[in-house]
């Protein structure tokens, strides 16, 4: 799994993924955003989880169960889409909110 993630992150255009440092603090927490935007596909039975199950190690398809989920991968997937997942615009998830979401997922999964 680590090899897969390393390759995915290596393919990202790092310079375009700078955090929204100049924005006001997000009004929603990372957990709020996950519940409002992500969970419909990425809960245990969502289509995103089923799709990821075809290309991740066992028990790693559900994002909330993922052992390693780098912030940069979340930012890339949300803003540019990944695989068959459509992207989200900054009016749906602002840069600051995306930072909060990525941090929440990364730290939550690191616990």
């Amino acid at each position: 799994m680590k090899l897969t993630i390393t390759l995915a992150v290596g393919a990202l255009a790092l310079s375009t993924l700078a955090a929204g440092a100049q924005e006001a603090p997000p009004s929603r927490t990372g957990e709020d955003i996950f519940a409002q935007r992500c969970v419909f596909c990425h809960d245990a039975r969502g289509w995103g989880t089923r799709s990821l199950a075809r290309r991740t190690p066992p028990d790693q398809a559900e994002l909330l169960e993922r052992e390693v989920l780098p912030e940069i991968l979340v930012r890339h997937a949300v803003r540019r889409g990944i695989g068959s997942m459509p992207q989200f615009t900054p009016t749906e998830i602002s840069d600051a909110e995306l930072d909060a979401l990525a941090r929440w997922l990364a730290t939550r999964n690191a616990d």
């Binding site: 375009t16 993924l17 924005e23 409002q36 419909f40 596909c41 969502g46 289509w47 995103g48 089923r50 799709s51 075809r54 290309r55 803003r79 540019r80 889409g81 990944i82 695989g83 068959s84 997942m85 459509p86 992207q87 989200f88 615009t89 900054p90 009016t91 749906e92």
Partner: protein
């Protein structure tokens, strides 16, 4: 990837417009970075997404800001492409028809202005999704039911404006529209119908005002920006039944359509029915590689064998029926069973039943959904889909003729003919012949484009038109409207162009939408 210029626009004009947009909405709501522009690309593009890239996006929060944005767009002749939730997946998502057009993102205008329990209607702004709307109905413990779209990320308003469909008696969403507030290209705010009367309490109560009804003119068009929309909502029924009807042979389609028609026409079946062909049925719970690892489309004998293994017929119909009288649902169930027993005894019929007070079940389709995403990567990841959608009279022989053409051409182009036919109202079916493709396979996406354009020509020769199309094909779909052509342009497209030139002389609103204004851009 460098930012494209809008059609007919210089860099200086674009820069001046962007400055004016920033002054209107605040700099944080004008998006020009490469990453932000990429987020407005079509995620299911049929070929290179850059063909429909935007120069920028601007997101007003209210009609005052919208008026300022349109004033700047006019002043600098920079076209804008209004989107509501920007989730018109399979038809272009938020991307503009003409490359470089600035996306006018209306997601911040997201108020549910009113839900009227007594009269059964709602008034919504563009940025209200089905998720938001269902949550508000639930919060209020409303007696009114939503007619949802296939995926709930979409805008309640946007789906109705694009002639989207649902699966309740209110499932032809455009027909539930009652009253709009629109902003014309010059910034004038207009309310249609009885909304034009000061202090009206009838704006959403009756569709036919003194004078013309304009609501239809602002659907699938680019004559104005719709800022508020009234929609009728169905009161909760007393009972529902969900039917599954299977018929055995490929040659049964005409008889099936002719058997369903009188039941749909007299409203016994009072919601959309869906007929699925063998390929469409074969995807349930399967990966494509489970069925077929060979080249090209999955052969007919493979899907036929799979259906036989599962004990299913070549055609499958699903629909729900609704009744507002206690016990009435059982009368409908009985009538449908008797009708099929008399006219199509070979059909296999199953039904399930619900009455008010019982827990809701998945087949009732009353919950939010993202079900269509289950099929997106049928051909592999990154996947995409878009459909060829002719509207065909509900006459078995004609439906069969169009179906057979579509199936043949899909197979010739190496694409699985994944076809559903939706019985909208009693008199017509909307075909959804879904092209499922791998987005990073240029040969496959090129085949989709050839297939779509071939079918446009061929069904047009049969006198058939489309209900909707991906942005790639809007000019092709418009060109099918050839009746009473003069100088190579049909009378209806010519009328649309005359109206467009009158209402939007600078062609700033969504040039190319349904083919309108693309020639002038």
């Amino acid at each position: 990837m460098s930012a494209p210029l809008p059609p007919g626009t210089s860099q200086a004009a674009l820069d001046a417009a962007l400055e004016a947009f920033r002054a209107a909405v605040g700099p944080q709501w004008v998006f020009t970075s490469e990453a932000d522009r990429a987020s407005y690309l079509d995620p299911f593009s049929i070929g290179d997404p850059d063909a429909h890239a935007t120069a920028a996006a601007v997101a007003p929060a209210n009609t005052d800001q919208l008026a300022q944005v349109l004033a700047a767009a006019n002043a600098h002749k920079v076209p804008v492409w209004p989107v509501s939730m920007g989730k018109n997946l399979a038809y272009g998502t938020a991307a503009p028809a003409l490359r470089g057009t600035v996306v006018l993102d209306l997601k911040r205008m997201n108020r549910i202005v009113e839900i009227n329990e007594d009269l059964g209607y709602a008034v919504v702004e563009p940025g209200v999704s089905y998720f938001d709307f269902k949550a508000e109905l639930d919060r209020r413990q409303s007696n009114l039911w939503m007619s949802g779209a296939a995926h709930s990320w979409g805008s309640v308003m946007g789906n109705a404006l694009e002639h989207g469909v649902g699966y309740t008696p209110y499932g032809i969403h455009a027909e539930t529209i009652c009253g709009m507030e629109v902003m014309l290209a010059d910034g004038t705010l207009v309310r249609t119908g009885f909304g034009a009367i000061e202090g009206s309490q009838e704006w959403q109560a009756f569709k036919w005002p003194f004078g013309p009804n304009w609501d239809g003119v602002f659907t699938q068009s680019n004559f104005a920006v719709v800022t508020k929309l009234g929609l009728w909502l169905m009161p909760q029924p007393e009972g529902m039944a969900g039917f599954t009807i299977s018929v055995p042979a490929k040659g049964d389609l005409a008889r099936l359509v002719d058997t369903l028609r009188p039941l749909r026409l007299d409203d016994t079946i009072n919601a959309t029915y869906t007929i699925a062909n063998a390929w469409r049925q074969s995807t349930g719970g399967a990966q494509r590689s489970d069925l077929w690892q060979g080249e090209g489309a999955i052969p007919e004998e493979v899907v036929t064998r799979r259906l036989a293994e599962r004990g299913r017929g070549w055609w499958n119909v699903i629909f729900n029926v609704f009744d507002h009288v206690p016990g009435g649902i059982d009368l409908r169930i009985d009538k449908i069973n008797r009708h099929f027993a008399a006219h199509f005894p070979q059909a296999s019929i199953e039904h399930t039943r619900w009455v008010k007070g019982e827990p809701q079940q998945a087949w009732m389709r009353q919950d939010v959904s993202l079900a269509p995403f289950g099929i997106v990567d049928w051909r592999g990841s990154p996947g995409g889909h878009s459909d060829f959608g002719p509207v065909v009279a509900a006459v078995g022989s004609r439906v069969t003729q169009v179906y057979e053409l579509i199936e043949r051409r899909f197979l010739e182009h190496g694409l699985d003919p994944w076809v559903g036919m939706f019985g909208m109202g009693g008199r017509a079916l909307i075909f959804v012949a879904d092209m499922l493709y791998k987005r990073d396979d240029p040969e496959m996406t090129a085949a989709c484009q050839r297939l779509f354009r071939t079918l446009c020509r061929e069904v047009s020769a049969m006198g058939v038109g489309l209900y909707r199309s991906h942005i790639t094909f809007m000019d092709d779909a418009e060109a099918m409207h050839t009746w009473n052509a003069q100088d190579g342009q049909g009378a209806l497209p010519a009328l649309n162009e005359r109206l467009k030139a009158c209402l939007d002389p600078n062609n700033i609103l969504a040039p190319g939408k349904q083919g309108i204004g693309s020639a002038r851009a």
